[in-house]
Amino acid sequence: MPAVTTELVLEALRHVQDPDLHRDIVSLGFVKNLNIDGGAVRFDVELTTPACPVKEDLKRQCEHMVSALPGVTAVDVTMTAQPARGNMEKRTALLKDVRHIVAVASGKGGVGKSTATANLAIALANTGAKVGVLDADIYGPSMSLMFGIIKAPEINAEKKLVPVTSRSLKVVSMAMFDEGEKGVVWRGPMVSQMIQNFVHNVVWGELDYLLIDMPPGTGDVQLTLTQNAPLSGAVIITTPQDVSVLDAKKGLRMFQSVNVPVLGIVENMSYFVCDECTKKHYIFRRGGGRRIAESLGVPFLGEVPLEPEVAEGGDSGTPIVERRPGSPAALAYKALAGSVASSLSILSAGQAGLLGSFDLKWEEVPEP
């Protein structure tokens, strides 16, 4: 008499199809708790709804397929149901140990937003904080390059993404899934879905700051992120020209429309100091960032000078804060990190009595 094995039983059950999902119940993962004791086979079939109209039929098919195996003397099938979880279920759970989520945004591309994110992350980490970086610039992800990361994140047993650790930073970037220079050619809904996954399916663990490098502009993806991630605040990067400033305004309005506080505006590429003299050359005009901050009533967080080494640092995987800590740009980023940290503390103190991020069952809502 041949021995009854798990493989044989599963092989037999592969012939049983769920009529709605058009796939066999084994590959759907419906077969649970398989137990073989000599010729007695016992298992559960877990359906997605207890009201499955074909439940009895499926049960008969399972019994039929398994009892036909040589050596099987008894088959005991228990039909159970685990309702499919709503997509909104518990999605904030993985972010519960993240104290502050900060979006780094810009109204248009090319203003040095990713460079600023990378340097800000290192500057914050250098103060002893636990920092994560989510590169959500889905069309032009660059954080892997900025930090010199070549690894891909791992997927753990719960099918959650584990960030790559570089220095003390936890990093997840779309670039980690991109094959070389193909670039990402995706339609909007897919991108929004992906972004949601990035925010809600990554095991960030305990973090003081999670920086999100946003895609430039104020489109669908940006709005999705802004609406769904429990953002503590946003930093808007601009360059001094009026056109950039105009776009920064749009970004600001987007955050305000969903009640995300704008921590302030940073003016990048403010001035250039050449090798020969110490004079600050204001190449792209002067003071645009400060003007817009003043006109919109948000803090001006500072100017970051244009230095060739900033770009070199980014390209070589060692951001300027790390590469030349004493340079004017590095000092500017450190000052920025200080302002961001302090405005977040002030904001959270001001919101102490307010409802933060929550996810409660109706029964758990307290009675007064």
């Binding site: 709503g86 909104m88 279920e89 904030t92 802004t226 609406q227 769904n228 991630a229 429990p230 953002l231 429309s257 969903v258 009640n259 995300v260 919101q351 009595g353 307010l354 409802l355 933060g356 991020s357 929550f358 996810d359 409660l360 069952k361 109706w362 809502v365 307290p366 009675e367 007064p368």
Partner: protein, 118 residues
Amino acid sequence: MMIPASLHRLGDRTLLVTWNDGRRSEYDVRALRLACPCASCVNEWTGERTLRPAQVPENVRPVRLFSVGRYALGVAWSDGHDTGIYGFDYLRRLNPALSGAETLETPVSPKPPRSEHL
């Protein structure tokens, strides 16, 4: 923007929102379900409400209440509906009867002041 300072449950079918300005709004949960602003309950183009009261069970209850970003309350309902996102401004507007001065929080009794239902 108005932000809730706290959420409470008054019995089985009333949600009490206390706002950051101290005002309190009470919502009958079924009325809140019927006021769902989502695209499957309201025609996105015309603004016409497509959800009919008869479609919602009398005993509908929230299953979960969750924050959406920083601007809205999300509710998953016992009738399986979970796409409703109540922006705080919308939620506040839903209950204009409660914007009067008499509903400002003045803790005189252990029970919260009763106010008109939605």
